[in-house]
């Protein structure tokens, strides 16, 4: 057991994959001497050399596209996209190429590329530095998408992403990079593609992931003080979604709330609501309620507190659900 921040936990996870397999390499802009703009790769170039921790030209399509080629040759690249809003120049390579290689080649080729994307708001930054584009990728068959919410998961999920033969996008909640927690380096606990019940409850199930998990836990705590009982699930994997865990919880509680920072329209919350409604229609005592971002470009930092779901917005949704 050791206490680490999420950023340091990912750093340790990356160190382990670099140690374990000489065919893994990290690629991205500023990841070498600088150690990444969030210092997630700090010290790794000094330890493993410039061939293993590669500072690339500033070109997102180039980073992903060459990673695909390296993977075809048998290497295991872990790419860093510096910020969420800058992934789009690489979107074509991720969705039309990386995601489809296994299918197009009828299983003869794999490209187990890992793409790390710091995402989400709440850090007071300027435009394109605070977005949550996960649904755009979750909609694409062939990709796997995970997002840790605590240091233990961050340490293990990056390693599982590298071990996975499929392409995996790891969305890292950047405003939680400095969140500290215990990491059990001896055992991962659960698999990267499973959800986890973090807090038991009876009145409603609250699903969250990534940066909103601490918000969800705090909301459940606040509700408890008023006599409400919220079960909190950390989704952890956005593709596949562990519907079984969510469904089992909803069958117990009878209500479902979903919170994410991304705009609610077309977001993961809608997908979860639809699938759970289909599976557990007769267990639901209220409509599924989503708490998320508005249909806006991510707003300027001075007003982002009104955009980001917080404890009060989650509790308002809980009250609405309980009123049915």
């Amino acid at each position: 057991m050791s206490t680490l921040t999420i950023a340091k936990a990912i750093n340790e996870g990356l160190r382990r994959v670099l140690e374990d397999d000489p065919d893994t390499l990290l690629m991205g802009e500023d990841i070498g001497d600088l150690g990444g703009v969030y210092r997630v790769t700090e010290g790794l170039k000094a330890e493993f050399g410039a061939d293993r921790v590669v500072d690339t030209p500033l070109a997102e399509s180039g980073i992903v596209g060459t990673a695909v080629g390296l993977a075809l040759r048998g290497y295991k690249p872990v790419c860093e996209i510096q910020f969420d809003g800058f992934v789009f120049p690489g979107f074509n390579q991720i969705t039309t190429q990386l995601a489809k290689i296994h299918a197009r080649s009828e299983g003869q080729l794999s490209a187990g590329v890992v793409i790390r994307i710091p995402y989400g708001g709440g850090i007071g930054s300027i435009e394109h530095h605070s977005e949550s584009p996960e649904a755009l990728f979750a909609h694409t068959a062939g990709l796997r998408i995970i997002t840790p919410s605590n240091p233990h998961d961050a340490y293990w999920m990056i390693q599982e992403a590298v071990a996975c033969p499929d392409p995996v996008i790891v969305f890292e909640p950047k405003r939680r990079y400095w969140l500290k927690g215990e990491v059990d380096t001896g055992s991962p606990g659960r698999g990267a593609f499973e959800a986890q019940v973090l807090r038991e409850g009876n009145d409603a199930t609250l699903v969250a992931y990534g940066p909103l998990v601490p918000v969800a836990l705090a909301a459940a705590e606040a509700a408890a003080q008023d006599g409400g009982s919220i079960e909190v699930i950390d989704l952890r994997s956005l593709s596949p979604v562990d519907f079984d865990t969510v469904n089992a919880s909803v069958q117990k509680t009878g209500r479902l709330l979903i919170a994410h920072e991304a705009p609610t329209f077309g977001g993961l919350g809608g997908e979860i609501a639809a699938r759970i409604s289909e599976r557990s229609f007769y267990s639901l005592q209220s409509p599924v309620i989503r708490v998320g971002g508005f249909h806006l470009p991510y707003p300027v930092a001075r007003v982002e507190e009104h955009y980001l779901p917080d404890i009060d917005r989650v509790l308002e949704a809980f009250d609405r659900a309980m009123a049915y």
Partner: protein
């Protein structure tokens, strides 16, 4: 522009590349002609099959045989090719038969062959995407060579040097991925040859709209050599590609080749070139056709006679017959195969949806409903 074989069949001069052409035996030259003639006959048959509704689409390469055969015959077995979607002559040279090559166009596969087996990647329909894959693959070769050198120092054996060729067209040259691939290739000195077949037209848009300068000139901006070659001259294409691959394999970095050629037919069977280009231009380029050009040389030098060409015509007809048979015999896929390969490891959503579909299908059978 490098030219070693003029349209009238006479040999040209170029001090940098003469030696490559001089080294080719009459037998090799006959082989080049054979590759080109069979590729053209194959192409004609595929076009006919599309017109008869047997292929969903065809992408003719007629007119570009010298660019394809000359470059492909410069490659070694350990080299790796990244094609766009028109490299049929190259695919044939890399050992991919019509029963594999036409699966994509028949609509029974998104691929059709095992790239590793042939050193020839799947066709890529998204323009220029493969140029980055090629550079990444070349960076992988670099790493392999470094490992091999390390191991070889211990064991005394070393892996044979290899290189990558990335094919793209004049239209694709406008895509950002071509730029990014050249930046990466230059920065990491990747063993890659960029091979642009400038066939003058990106569907209906002429080359002048893609570039105001010869594409080969752009290489200087990235810091590696660019060569403009007569793409209808198989000797010149073979020479410059051989040189470029030697450079790449010798760790001298990337090369850009612009093969100036012309597609004599449509972009695909879905377009009509008479709507966007004039017959005078087509006639001009028909006069530069790579096949009659090499035929003239072979006859002038006594390397091939009537019997050779007659035999080749017969071989072409036999190929056409086998192409037709291969297309008609293609097995129709089961939708289950589409579910099978989305992921390398099981994905619960895919499994769930397949299970639903199986049950849905079974419902029809058990009720005896005619579909």
């Amino acid at each position: 522009m490098v030219q070693l074989l003029a349209p009238d069949g006479s040999r040209g001069q170029d001090p940098r590349f003469d030696a490559y052409a001089q080294a080719l035996s009459p037998e090799t030259l006959r082989g080049f002609y054979r590759d080109m003639a069979l590729a053209r006959r194959f192409d004609q048959e595929a076009t006919a099959l599309q017109r008869q509704g047997e292929l969903a689409l065809w992408v003719p390469a007629i007119g570009q045989e010298a660019a394809q055969v000359g470059s492909a015959r410069a490659g070694a077995s350990q080299d790796y090719f990244f094609p766009t979607y028109r490299e049929h002559a190259i695919a044939m040279i890399r050992g991919i038969g019509p029963e594999k090559l036409l699966k994509l166009f028949r609509g029974v596969s998104h691929g059709g062959w095992n790239p590793k087996e042939h050193g020839f990647h799947l066709y890529t329909l998204v323009l220029a995407a493969q140029t980055l894959h090629a550079v990444g693959y070349a960076m992988g070769i670099q790493r392999d060579q470094a490992k091999s050198a390390q191991a070889g120092a211990d064991s005394g054996s070393q892996q044979e040097p290899a290189a990558v060729i990335a094919y793209f067209g004049d239209g694709a040259s406008s895509e950002g991925d071509v730029h990014e691939s050249m930046v990466f290739a230059a920065s990491f000195k990747a063993p890659v040859v960029f091979f642009c077949q400038n066939n003058q037209w990106a569907i209906s848009v002429p080359f002048e709209v893609q570039s105001k300068v010869p594409l080969a000139n752009r290489a200087a901006g990235y810091g590696f050599p660019g060569i403009r070659v007569d793409g209808n001259d198989v000797l010149a294409v073979h020479a410059v590609t051989s040189w470029a691959l030697e450079q790449a394999r010798a760790d001298a970095g990337p090369v850009l080749i612009e093969a100036v050629t012309y597609r004599l037919g449509a972009h695909t069977t879905a377009d009509d070139p008479t709507k966007y280009r004039g017959s005078a231009e087509e006639q001009l380029w028909a006069g530069r056709d790579p096949l009659p050009r090499l035929e003239k040389l072979l006859r002038a030098e006594g390397s091939a006679d009537d019997e050779f060409f007659a035999q080749l015509t017969a071989d072409g007809e036999a190929l056409a017959t086998s192409v037709r048979a291969a297309v008609l015999a293609m097995e129709m896929p089961d939708i289950r195969s589409s579910f099978a390969h989305v992921y390398a490891e099981q994905h619960p959503l895919v499994a769930e949806e397949l299970a639903w579909w199986e049950q849905y299908e079974a419902g029809f059978e058990s009720e005896g409903v005619q579909k």
